[in-house]
Structures are given as C-alpha cells and as structure tokens.
Amino acid sequence: MSNSDFVLAIEDLTVSFDGFKAIDALTLYVDKGELRVIIGPNGAGKTTLLDLICGKTKASGGSIKFKNNEMTKLAEHQIVRSGIGRKFQTPSIYENLSVFKNLEVSFPRGRGVFGALAFKCTDDVKARIEEVAAEIGLADQLNTEAGLLSHGQKQWLEIGMLLMQDPELLMLDEPIAGMSVRERELTAELLERICRNRSMIVIEHDMDFVKKIAHKVTVMHQGKILAEGPMDKVQNDPKVIDVYLGH
C-alpha cells in the first residue's frame, strides 16, 4: 500500500462478525484539517468504523494508516498516543470526579504506572486545564462533580478531555444527541473552533447540524460507502434519498 498526504487512509477495510460483514471493503481518506461527517441509517457500520480506527474492534482485513503508520496492529493506548482521540456515543466521563480531575487525568503526561505515581499537577498542567475548560464553556464549573453536570455539559466535558491530549484526529460519535437547540448551536461553534488545526470525523443524524459543520459528507450503508462529497451533492443523490433520507 502506498503512502500519502492524507491524515487518515483507510483501504479495503473489512470486519466480519460470524460471517456478517459489518464493514465491507471500505476505503476512505481524510485530509489534514478536514471535518468529515459520516451519516447513514442504523446498522450501517458507522460506530463500528470508529471502533476499528481506535482499535476497540480488530479488523479482519485491510489497512488503516494514520500519518502513514499502520494502526491495525497497535493496542488501543498506542493508537491514542499516536494522536487519535475518540468520543463515545453516551457521555463517557468520570461521574464522581470533579471537572478539574476529569481533565487532569486526560492530560498526556504520567501515563505509565510509576509516571502516574510521580505525576504533579504543575502550573503548565493547570494552565492547560483552564484553557480547555474555557474552550468548552466549563471554566466556572471546575470544582463541580462531573456527575452533576447537565447532559450537554457532559458531552462538552468529554470533548474537553480529548482536547487535553491535543489529538491530530478527533472522532466524535453523535456529539449532539440529546442536546437542546441552544446547546447544539454552541457545539457547532465549538467544533468549528477546535477543527482549525486538526482533522475530525463526526457521526451525526441531525441534518441541519451536519449542514452547518461538514466539509465533506460520507454516507454509509450496509458497511459500504454509498456516496461521498459536499453536503448539497450528497443530499440530492437518488441512492442516498432512497436508503436514508427519504424514509
């Protein structure tokens, strides 16, 4: 397989669960600084695709190259350390720790056992936490127990935890699910801001939101790519209307 300028190059990726191909010979490229949205009906394999990229599920075949390095053989934490961050569908935060602690734990230092024992929350760590907290709008909630945050704030906190690691590729699985209209707007602005120096893959169902944020849209169906391109082109594609948008 050839090397390329793409941040993420997925080629011929296949995964089968007991013969059922959840992802079927899928090929996808993501550019530097691109915000890619993946849409598709339930069971199309969107979340599975993210699982494969971040190593949660092992591929049956094909390759995933991140900055020209093969990812399919690496362990999850190695993939994260090479610069891929992933947000889960339901807010996955540490409910009984404070917002500050949630962000501190995500700071990419002291990741070994003894590193963690010796880790000190120095001024640069604090500065970084405050910076990220301001970015996600939780600057005045640093001492709040994370479990007490509203649903939208929890989603932002998880995004913030990923920002602490400053990943080059950020993958968000339905970041606005369950958010109010106002929260959706704020999230769209947040994603636009944080996308400036990194690539992103977002899975989303809300078409208004997709229109607002997407640089390029990929439509998945039955583990394959059905269509790819700018939002208005994809939206008028008869195949897409048939399997997804029309129903």
Binding site: R86, E95, N96, L97, A118, G147, Q165, A177, G178
Partner: protein, 408 residues
C-alpha cells in the same frame, strides 16, 4: 470543643489520628496482654483489609484469594523462625537433628534446598514481601492483559487459593501439612513468646500498619489513585485516553498482595505458627468481609471493620458456641444490606454532619458539600448515572423524527 468537632468533621487526617489513639493508647492501656495479643492478631488481618480497599474499593477488582498472599508472607516468616527453632541441640531426639520436626516425622533426612536461604533473616524479609508480589504479578499479568475481570477474576483467585492450600496440605514433608509450621520460638535469639516480646511485636505491627495506611493514602492522592477510580467507573474511557489499563490493575493487585504478605509475616511472629487454614477459600472470603463491613472506600474504616468482625467472632464464639457462625453471617448480611458503605459510610453520612452542625449556620456548609475521594460512596455514581442515561436515550430516540422534516 466546637473547634475539635469541626476538625474531626473536616480534616481527613482526623480518622487516622483517632485510630492511632485507639491502637496505640486506648487498647494497650485497657486490655490485658492476652487480649492485646488477640488485637495484634486482628491487626495483621487489617493489612489485608487495607490492601482490599485499594484493590476492591479503588480499583474495583474483587479478589477472593487474598489469603494466598497472607499465607505466603506468613510461611516465609515461619520458615525462618522454624529453622531457628530447629537447631541441632533442641532437635537432638530426632533421627535427623537440625531439620524442622515435621520433616523428620515425614522421613525426610535432609533440609530441602529451597529451605536453605530461609536461614537468613534479610532473605526471609525480602521473600515475605516479594514472593506474594511476584505471584500477584504473574496472576495479574496473565489475567488483566487478557481483560479478564469482574466475577471471572474473582473465581480465578478462588482457584488459586484452593490450589495453594491443597498444595501445602499435600506436601506435608516440606510444608508441615494441615498442622502448618508450629512451635516458633525465637527471632535472632529473641524469645517471641514472652509478654514483653508480645508488647513489642504489637507496637511494631501497629507502626507497620500505619505505614501501610500512609503509603496507600499517598497512592490514593496521586494521579494513580484518581486513575484507579476512573478505571473502576469507565474503563474504556481510561483506555482511550492513552493508558494501558492492565498495568494499573497489575500494580494495585501487587500492592495489595505485598501488604497481605507483610500482615501474614506479622501474624506468624505474634501468634507463633502459620497454617493452611489462613490460605484457603474461606479465610480469603472472610478478609473481604472485613473490608466490606469497615467500608471498602476507607483505609481507616477497613481497620475498624477488621477489629469489629473479629471481636464479634471472638465474643459470639465464647458466648454462643453453637450459634456464632449464624450470628456472624447475620452481622455481615445486616451491614451490607443496611450500610453498603460499611462503618465508614455510616460515619460519613451521620457522624460527620452532626460534628459540623454546630458550626454549620455560619459556615454555609461548604465543607460538607466537598467530596473527598475517601468519602465518595460507591452508590451515588450509579444513581446519578441513571438519570443521565435516561436523558440521553430519550431525546436520541426521537432523533429520526427530527431528521425527517429537516431534510424534507
């Protein structure tokens, strides 16, 4: 008085100081040496309970085989003491003088080679710390790297406990079998059976126990402690934040095992024997009960839990010889049902607010609202997670409806 109450209510050192008073002043001042020696014995179990607070309370890993590590530490110490007690002069009536008596009874004529190094006290001390730790490392590495956890891990630890106790009983000639290693007399010539030795050993044990508590407290307060809590609740999030989760589990399992080994060694010193009855499944489960009754999130609570359960055991078995096991079971079930966070949980939810009440009006209650790691009960995350999930699923369930009109 108010100041004292406030300090007791807010400082997290208060619990440790009060426990230190109980262990170093109150108990030695009030009970006779026979009872104090019993307390000393209970306090050796407290090492296991403290280890379980780290492993089970913080790490969320339930091990039902901590007796294995307690036993290994105890046996390492007992082997040294037994060799010292088996000098050629005092064993001259044996057919092979100079070897432990049980070996002689089992027609063994030469000290097994792996017993030899235990003639040295430094080696024995190193072994009693490292043997349990290394075994924990091997078991932990094999299990956690394969992502074995929860009930399955607990079953494996039970199996290890069973295997080791069967092995010890089966290899009677090398281990003393069911009787264990008995008749321990001196350590480097110092008679450990006298009252004065018992006092000294009691205090030495207590000092070591507080050392263990402080060490665990330091771990809890480091980032590693935060990570353990984080792993317990959201293991995947920790993994996908770039941590190799298995390594942290192995570490905390090894830490708990080392504490068990230390407790076992102090047990052998204070009680004067070591036997397989502290290795198997039943004692291992009992040790979990100590931590559960005391409160699995509290290091200090675990010590109280150990003392309470063992006092109960002694009292019930002396007073109601026929009923005591049932009474113990009732105590355990009662505590777990009524106070899932044990004695420490009771203290957090009833005593602390009462201590702070006199000050509360002027204080705006800020200190009570603060949640310290030790104070965090295991239940709130579950209750607070439930509404979050409900919130999440309800609107996202409606999502497709919202999509339709937006596109059309």
């Amino acid at each position: 008085m108010d100041k004292l109450k406030k300090w007791l209510g807010t400082s997290d050192m208060a619990g440790i100081v009060v426990l230190a008073l109980v262990v170093f002043v109150v108990l030695p001042g009030t009970v006779d040496i026979f009872r104090l020696n019993l307390v000393g014995k209970y306090l050796t179990y407290a090492f296991v309970a403290v280890g379980l607070v780290m492993l089970w309370g913080y790490g969320g890993i339930l091990s039902l085989g901590q007796g294995v590590f307690f036993g290994l530490g105890g046996y390492c110490m007992a082997m040294f003491l037994k060799l010292e007690a088996s000098d050629p002069i005092s064993t001259k009536i044996q057919s092979t003088p100079g070897i432990p008596d049980f070996m002689d009874w089992n027609q063994i004529t030469q000290l097994p080679i792996w017993w030899e190094p235990f003639r040295s006290l430094p080696f024995a001390i190193l072994a009693l710390l490292l043997v349990p730790t290394i075994l924990a490392f091997i078991v932990g590495f094999a299990m956690f790297k394969r992502r074995v956890g929860g009930v399955y891990f607990a079953i494996i630890t039970q199996a290890v406990a069973l295997v080791l106790s069967v092995l010890i009983i089966g290899q009677q000639g090398y281990t003393g079998g069911v009787n264990g290693i008995t008749d321990l007399k001196t350590m480097l010539g110092w008679d450990i059976r006298t009252d004065s030795a018992k006092y000294i050993l009691y205090f030495a044990n207590a000092v070591l126990l507080f050392g263990a508590i402080f060490a665990c407290r330091a771990v809890q307060r480091s980032k590693l402690g935060t990570l353990l809590l984080a792993m317990r609740d959201k293991e995947d999030r920790v993994r996908f934040s770039g941590y190799d989760v298995a390594n942290f589990k192995v570490f905390v399992f090894c830490l708990a095992a080392m504490l068990c080994g230390l407790g076992g060694a102090m047990f052998a010193l204070q009680v004067g024997f070591m036997s397989p009855s502290f290795v198997g499944i039943v004692p291992s489960i009992e040790m979990v009960i100590f931590a559960a009754v005391g409160g699995r999130m509290s290091l200090v609570g675990a010590v109280y839990g150990t003392l309470l359960v063992n006092f109960g055991k002694t009292y019930f078995s002396e007073t109601f010889p026929q009923l005591w096991l049932f009474l113990m079971a009732a105590l355990f079930i009662g505590v777990v049902l009524a106070f899932p966070n044990g004695i420490a949980g009771l203290y957090e939810s009833y005593v602390k607010p009462w201590l702070l009440k006199s000050k509360a009006p002027r204080d705006t209650g800020a200190p009570t609202a603060q949640v310290t790691p030790e104070a965090t009960p295991a239940t709130p995350p579950r209750t607070s997670a439930a509404p979050a999930r409900a919130l999440d699923s309800a609107p996202s369930g409606k999502q497709p409806d919202g999509v339709g009109p937006a596109v059309a």
